[in-house]
């Protein structure tokens, strides 16, 4: 049984969409390859063009002329960790907001109030963090 190529079977439609997608994103792939090439050429070029004369003193970590006391990868302030956690929460929220903002015209009042409920819960959490001093740096 020979299907005429004009008939849009789900698979041919799917292939068509995929092709559109691929052709839309193909230039980005090319761009990334070229950008990577330029960066690699610059890094490699300076490795080749510059005279490399390493010695122990020069290769030690910079510490205002001292010998480095110990390894630099030591404990650090927990607040940075806290900021990272808060960032994940709020960035996820923004990621939720993107599709909502695009389709708000179609999902109507129900969509609007659902998101407002979500934001309300998040705001309660935010106020709690604020009160607890998670956002304070002194």
């Amino acid at each position: 049984m020979a299907l005429s190529p004009r008939v849009a079977t789900p698979s041919s439609e799917f292939r068509h969409t995929m092709q559109n997608l691929l052709s839309a994103y193909f230039p980005i792939a090319v761009f990334i390859v070229i950008a990577a090439g330029v960066s690699a050429a610059m890094l490699g070029g300076s490795l080749l063009a510059g005279r490399q004369k390493p010695y122990a003193e020069k290769n030690s970590a910079y510490e205002c002329g001292f010998d480095a006391f110990d390894d630099a990868r030591r404990r650090f302030d927990v607040r940075f960790y806290l900021v990272a956690i808060l960032f994940i929460i709020f960035d996820l929220e923004v990621a939720f907001l993107f599709p909502w903002a695009i389709s708000l015209g179609r999902i109507g009042l129900f969509g609007f109030w659902s998101m407002l409920g979500f934001l309300g819960v998040l705001t309660v959490g935010f106020i709690y963090e604020w009160r607890k001093g998670a956002l304070d740096w002194e």
């Binding site: 070229i34 650090f76 695009i102």
Partner: protein, 344 residues
């Protein structure tokens, strides 16, 4: 000729490569002259001359600097993770470049006019944190480590409010396509009805690119140079160029989201004669000048002030404004129902 370029695979590849070069080459030149321009403007503001020796008016200064950097030794500290150490500047520079693939320079002129352009830009600029974190970690130096931490915390803090500002633009436009966002500003640029968001976006852009007054990651007086203290030659150069390229990118984003991109300021005769790309370039230059002007005018923030501004002022304010925008559009029935390009 047309047959080759538009109907064969090899032709399309060649065409795409040419398009990419048509963006990248001017971009690299723009970075070179942005560095020069910044030094000149800073010089003028501080009543000095700025670079004036290499070439006429010092025009070749940046190229002299680049050649000097190229011929310097690439120092790789003995305690560093060599692969990661070299990966960091590579990554930073590549990310700074690839964002340009979706920037529209005229109606529908973008290398990739994808329907999720804003999301792509947001994703690429978020990835920028990795270059800095990797550099700070791989250097195995205390200054680099602290600088990397600070810089990462600063960038993620301001990214949240950047995201919320973008969402309120999306509410008005109803499309993630950058070209649609510009077309939605035919009647009025978004910098007028959304003035507070414009201000927040600009200040967040300063913080996101680690520019003065938020240049704490490289606060010379405390961290020497921050995350790239161990870097030399073009490995350092890539960070430097990447930072300036990010500045141009953020200016382009500001122009596209708030200043009407390639649109002429007034839709009447003498203005519409000037082609779109020229308008876009003029707007980018204007925003870049603001970047430099701010650097020459304001002293550096303290770290606690920086975090306070990001989390306690910008985040609540942009969130409230976003909700207000949505509510206003909902109440007046002005929400866009479908986009020009169709989402998905």
């Amino acid at each position: 000729m047309e047959q080759f370029f538009f109907h064969t695979v090899a032709g399309l590849v060649v065409l795409t490569v040419l398009e990419c070069l048509a963006i990248l080459v001017p971009l690299l030149m723009a970075v070179a002259y942005l560095v020069y321009g910044e030094r000149k403007v800073l010089g003028a503001i501080q009543l000095r001359k700025g670079p004036n020796t290499v070439g006429p008016f010092g025009l070749f200064q940046t190229f002299a600097d680049a050649i000097k950097m190229l011929t310097k030794e690439t120092v790789i500290p003995s305690g560093a993770n060599r692969a990661l150490y070299l990966l960091a500047p590579f990554l930073t520079f590549v990310l700074a470049m690839i964002a340009w693939a979706v920037i529209p320079t005229n109606n529908g002129w973008a290398i990739a006019n994808i329907n999720v352009g804003v999301l792509y830009l947001f994703a690429v600029s978020s990835l920028g944190v990795y270059g800095i974190l990797i550099a700070g970690w791989a250097s195995n130096s205390k200054y680099a480590f602290l600088g990397g931490l600070r810089s990462a915390a600063q960038m993620v803090s301001y990214e949240v409010s950047l995201g919320l500002v973008i969402v309120s633009i999306l509410l008005v436009v109803g499309s993630l396509n950058l070209n649609d966002i510009i077309l939605a500003q035919r009647h009025v640029w978004f910098c007028l009805p959304m003035l507070p968001m414009f201000v927040i976006f600009f200040i967040s852009a300063l913080a996101e690119t680690n520019r003065a007054p938020f240049d704490l990651p490289e606060g010379e007086s405390e961290l020497v140079a921050g995350f790239f203290v161990e870097y030399s030659s073009l490995a350092f150069g890539l960070f430097f160029l990447g930072e300036y390229m990010n500045m141009i990118l953020m200016s382009a984003m500001t122009s596209i989201l708030f200043l009407g991109g390639w649109l002429a300021p007034f839709n009447i005769a003498p203005f519409t004669w000037v082609p779109g790309p020229i308008w876009l370039i003029l707007k980018i230059l204007f925003v870049l000048f603001m970047f430099i002007w701010v650097r020459a005018t304001f002293p550096r923030y303290r770290y606690d002030q920086l975090m306070r501004l990001g989390w306690k002022v910008f985040l609540p304010f942009s969130l409230v404004w976003m909700v207000l925008t949505a509510g206003f559009l909902m109440a007046t029935g002005m929400l866009p129902v479908g986009s020009a390009n169709g989402v998905g």
